[in-house]
């Protein structure tokens, strides 16, 4: 893709904007349409776009495979630990009141943000990981051997 100069330049501009938009969707999820899932997809779209235009090697310099995998797991952990957090403090699983028992409404607020964060992280990195495994797949068998 050496000669796709325009694409490359535009991409470099776009990536930051997309990520920013993703973060917007992420953190306004509890007020406006959006949330972790959508945000995750948008953010991963930035990386995937970068990968498509710049090549798999380059995007993997930015975002190594191992990191994508582990980060996806961390996302799930964030989600689950939020729930366990309230459980440890004697509330039901995922009862956000635990985060701020004096002000349950605040607790709700923080809780949702945390959970959405977990979802967002998981989705974005899982998307990236899926893209990696599709793009990085070299067929082990020739077509004839099938």
């Amino acid at each position: 893709m050496k000669h796709h100069l325009i694409l490359k330049v535009i991409t470099k501009f776009m990536v930051g904007v997309i990520v920013l938009f993703g973060l917007y969707v992420q953190f306004h999820g509890d007020y406006s349409p959006g949330g972790g899932f959508q945000a995750g997809v948008i953010i991963s779209a930035a990386f995937i776009l970068y990968g498509i235009v710049m090549g798999l090697k380059n995007v993997q310099k930015v975002m190594p495979v191992w990191f994508a995998q582990k980060a996806a797991a961390v996302g799930v952990l964030v989600y689950a630990l939020t729930g366990v957090f309230s459980l440890i403090f004697g509330f039901e699983f995922l009862n956000y009141h635990a985060i701020s028992p004096e002000h349950p409404k605040h607790g709700q607020h923080y809780g949702i943000i945390l959970v959405e964060l977990g979802v967002g992280i998981t989705v974005s990195f899982v998307m990236i990981a899926i893209y990696y495994s599709f793009a990085g797949r070299t067929p082990r068998l020739d077509d004839k051997e099938w």
Binding site: W66, Q69, K70, A72, A73, V74, G75, V76, L77, A80, L81, G83, V84, L87, I88, F89, G90, F91, E92, F93, L94, N95, Y96, H97, P101, L141
Partner: protein
């Protein structure tokens, strides 16, 4: 009970229903983060052990016929997600947990042969997610939550089945087929849920049950029921919808086959039972008609046809996959009698067959560690060179046939009792006929194991591999002698469901 939870104090006993589900879910990502082969085995094992411990506590709590509810996030049931443990699902939680523990012990040595080393961590993570899904499906009382957990378990199952591709590339197409069928099943299921939600505006089982009875004769609800039956029929491999099962079981790694055979189809069947009894009204004519005109004939066809097919299979994993279809037929038959006894026999058979089939598949796996394949001819003379594995296999086989003193006898006896109690003489005869087919295919293997000369000599597998096999065989016998755990809880469960 939800109301008993005192806010602000850590009291894990009250959180058992949710802990049962989230323990493996928490461990799975930790494994991926740590990314260490041995550690991930150890952690998953400990996690499964914790699940087992929790399920035992749960079974103790509910074995007096009480119900344990838990509202997620503190939202009261009709709106929030409710977890609801009673005798019926506690027994399944126990089955799933204990099988996962046993299977994990086995995986310690067998996985090296079947899956490349670098994938072990992810395998265990996937396995735990599958466990989470199955436990979640059983524990929850929210029908959409059922769907979510069903998908968690199914998706991880597709991945687990595909891992067999290291030894046999056909695992990929088997997994793909399973994926297509499973997805259609899940779609149907969710369509069904949609219809129900449309008609009742609720997702909580108890709530729906009330509203459905108020609605009276509603086409929407009935169509929903049809979709759910077909969707679950796919997941539990009801006979014409079973095409995915034999290949998936055959080509998946042994660990996965053991686990799936013992739990996955049972969980789907449990969902069906739950819907029939807790969501819909089993006395409604459309439910009864469906059971009488469709499910029972299909169950009988499965019992007979699958057993006959099993006789002719040379690949033993495939043979037992077909035998599983037949056994699912027994369970469906028990259910389709729509009687308390029939339902109890179904539940008991779920547990008993879970142990039996796991024992069989696991000993096959142990044979496979030596012979590298499970074609019947490659087992020649192993009865002498691998006496312990073979003996365990024979015990499992006897239990599958339903020889008295084994677990299989109990459930077949109960099923016979139920069939005769409902006045289906012919069905009772067919149950026995099907058992005789089981005698034939088990015998074929015993003959090869003990009565033919081996061309090669193998050594017995190591103790760590033998232990889980023997635990399962022990259960095959133990549950045949001491029936207090299974039969009493199942009777209790049937009573609750029939209320």
């Amino acid at each position: 009970m939800a109301s008993e939870i005192k806010e602000g104090t850590l009291d894990l006993i009250n959180h058992l229903p949710i802990l049962q589900v989230i323990t493996p879910m928490l461990i799975a990502p930790i494994l991926v983060v740590l990314n260490n082969k041995t550690l991930s085995w150890l952690l998953s094992f400990l996690g499964a052990l914790a699940c087992l411990f929790i399920s035992v506590l749960l079974i103790q709590t509910v074995s007096d016929g009480s119900t344990l509810t838990y509202s997620l996030g503190g939202w009261a049931p009709p709106i929030g997600i409710e977890y609801r443990i009673d005798a019926a699902n506690s027994i399944l939680l126990f089955l799933i947990s204990i099988i996962s523990v046993i299977v994990l012990i086995f995986s310690y040595s067998s996985l090296h042969v079947e899956i490349p080393e670098e994938k072990h961590t992810l395998f265990y993570a996937c396995f735990l997610l599958c466990l989470t899904g199955l436990l979640g499906v059983v524990a929850t009382a929210d029908i959409f939550n059922v769907f979510v957990f069903l998908e968690i378990s199914s998706l991880s199952t597709y991945v687990l089945v595909a891992q067999g591709s290291y030894l046999d590339r056909r695992a990929l197409s088997a997994s793909f087929n399973y994926l297509i069928m499973g997805t259609i099943g899940a779609t149907f299921f969710v369509i069904g849920i949609g219809y129900i939600y449309m008609a009742t505006g609720s997702l909580n089982m108890m709530d729906i049950a009330e509203r459905v009875s108020e609605l009276g004769d509603s086409r929407t609800v009935q169509a929903g029921f049809a979709f759910i039956v077909v969707g679950m029929g796919l997941k539990l491999a009801m006979v014409p919808l079973h095409v995915w099962l034999p290949n998936a079981y055959t080509f998946a790694p042994t660990v996965v086959t053991c686990f799936l055979a013992a739990t996955a189809t049972k969980v789907a069947l449990y969902v069906l039972i739950r819907f029939v009894f807790s969501v819909f009204n089993y006395e409604d004519s459309f439910v009864n008609e469906l059971f009488f005109f469709l499910i029972m004939p299909l169950a009988i066809i499965a019992m007979i046809a699958a057993s006959v097919i099993a006789i002719f299979k040379q690949n033993l994993k495939k043979m037992f996959a077909y035998s599983s279809l037949a056994q699912i037929g027994y369970m469906l038959l028990g259910l389709s009698l729509v009687s308390e006894k029939g339902l109890a026999s179904s539940l008991v058979h779920m547990v008993n067959h879970g142990f039996t089939k796991a024992a069989l598949f696991m000993s096959l796996g142990a044979f496979m560690l030596n012979t590298k394949n499970v074609y019947i001819n490659s087992l020649q003379g192993l009865g002498r060179s691998m006496p312990f594995t073979s003996a365990a296999f024979v015990i499992g086989g006897l239990s599958l046939i339903g020889v008295p003193g084994t677990a299989g006898f109990i459930s077949k006896w109960l099923l016979l009792e139920a069939a005769l109690g409902s006045g289906y003489w012919l069905v009772a005869v067919l149950i026995i006929v099907s058992s005789l087919f089981a005698v034939i295919y088990i015998w074929k293997i015993i003959e090869v194991l003990y009565f033919s000369e081996s061309s090669e000599s193998y050594s017995e597998v190591n103790v760590l591999t033998l232990t889980p096999i023997w635990i399962l065989s022990f259960f095959c016998i133990f549950l045949g002698i001491n029936t207090s755990l299974t039969v009493e809880v199942a009777n209790m469960a049937a009573e609750i469901l029939f209320k």
